[in-house]
């Protein structure tokens, strides 16, 4: 292999037989070059993801400014306790994933499998908490387009649980109350797309656990684990912004 190399500087190539690992592709000169190339490619993919979620964040920013009272009162429907718990779960899963990459780099198979399993479980826990929150929205008729009622906003006293936490919430005028549906539309679009990324990540994780048990990724070839880690941390970053914007910033307005 590497004929062009031999032609370019024959004596040098003969002096050094190819001692590179089997997972190095022929079109890369060194394993570092291969690693940096795949790393660059993964980041380009993540940038398309930044633009995708960025559009949703921009829509939220504009709509919140237009229909400010509706967005403030609608956001009071979210449970800060569940949101905080989910943020902690997701950050911990990012930590276990980072430790998984470290275990793969040090070729520790047991540690890698353990970290991947922990990340898998924490990912499922996140989705479990999200399901509890979504179910509450279904019960309270806060599903835009399918099952929606404005009564919590036309008459806050009709929603005693939220009314107790936010006694200053005034009834909204009917045209403004109608715009609370837009808040929930964006809430479901943003957390739903985030949850879809979690589901895809969990599916890939289960495949990786299966492969890691067979000894993959701990041979020195960490690209797959490393790049999955980048994806998982990116999904974490999306939630780091979603959590304050959806749950926290309108508590006093």
């Amino acid at each position: 292999m590497s004929d062009s190399h031999a032609v370019a500087h024959g004596s040098v190539a003969e002096a050094h037989p190819h001692e590179h690992p089997s997972y190095q592709r022929h079109h890369f000169e060194t394993i570092e070059q291969q690693f940096d190339t795949t790393n660059f490619a993964m980041w380009l993919f993540l940038l398309t993801e930044v633009m995708f979620f960025g559009g949703l964040f921009t829509a939220y920013l504009i709509m919140r400014n237009w229909y400010y009272p509706a967005f403030v009162e609608a956001s009071h429907q979210l449970n800060v306790g569940w949101g905080t718990a989910n943020t902690a779960v997701l950050i911990t899963s990012s930590f276990t994933m980072a430790m998984g990459v470290w275990n793969a780099e040090l070729r520790r198979k047991g540690g890698l499998v353990l970290c991947l399993v922990l990340t898998f479980i924490l990912g499922l826990a996140f989705l479990g908490i999200k399901t509890i929150e979504y179910h509450e929205k279904w019960e309270k008729h806060h599903i835009p387009g399918i099952r929606y009622s404005e009564s919590s906003f036309l008459n806050p006293a009709s929603d005693p649980e939220v009314h107790k936490s936010y006694p200053d919430d005034k009834p909204l005028a009917p045209d403004m109350a109608a715009h609370t549906e837009m808040y929930f539309f964006l809430y479901f679009a943003m957390t739903g797309m985030h949850a879809l990324h979690m589901i895809i990540g969990i599916a890939i994780l289960s495949f990786m656990i299966f492969r890691a048990r067979a000894g993959a990724y701990t041979t020195g070839h960490v690209t797959y684990v490393e790049n999955f880690g980048l994806y998982w941390h990116f999904v974490d970053i999306v939630w780091i912004f979603l959590f304050p914007l959806l749950y926290l910033i309108s508590r006093h307005q």
Partner: protein
């Protein structure tokens, strides 16, 4: 590897980040989460969203630099990340300049 230096591609050795850094960053992220929730219970008017976003930016930066290894990555990766953030902010900025300078949504 006896190859002359001029034939070496400009790639650096793969850096392994230590678990102690991961632990410190993970702890800092949890503290940041606690802080942003605590601040949300105080009425700061317009500063509530500003502080919440500032904490989120700090947390995201920690994740990008350490969990995603950008601090230890090649200049190419660093440039890619920075230009991505720049384009993202430019697109938001241009969109907002349209929305704030016209009567959109005023009906």
């Amino acid at each position: 590897m006896n190859e002359p230096a001029s034939h070496e591609p400009e790639n650096q050795e793969h850096h392994i980040v230590s678990p102690r850094i991961y632990l410190a960053v993970g702890a800092a992220l949890l503290v940041g989460t606690g802080l942003t929730v605590a601040v949300s219970f105080i009425d700061l008017g317009v500063f509530n969203p500003i502080i919440a976003l500032a904490i989120a930016v700090v947390k995201a930066t920690l994740v990008v630099l350490f969990f995603m290894h950008v601090k230890y990555s090649t200049k190419l990766t660093k440039l890619t990340v920075i230009s991505g953030i720049f384009v993202f902010l430019a697109l938001i900025g241009m969109t907002l300049s349209d929305y704030i300078s016209r009567a959109w949504g005023r009906w």
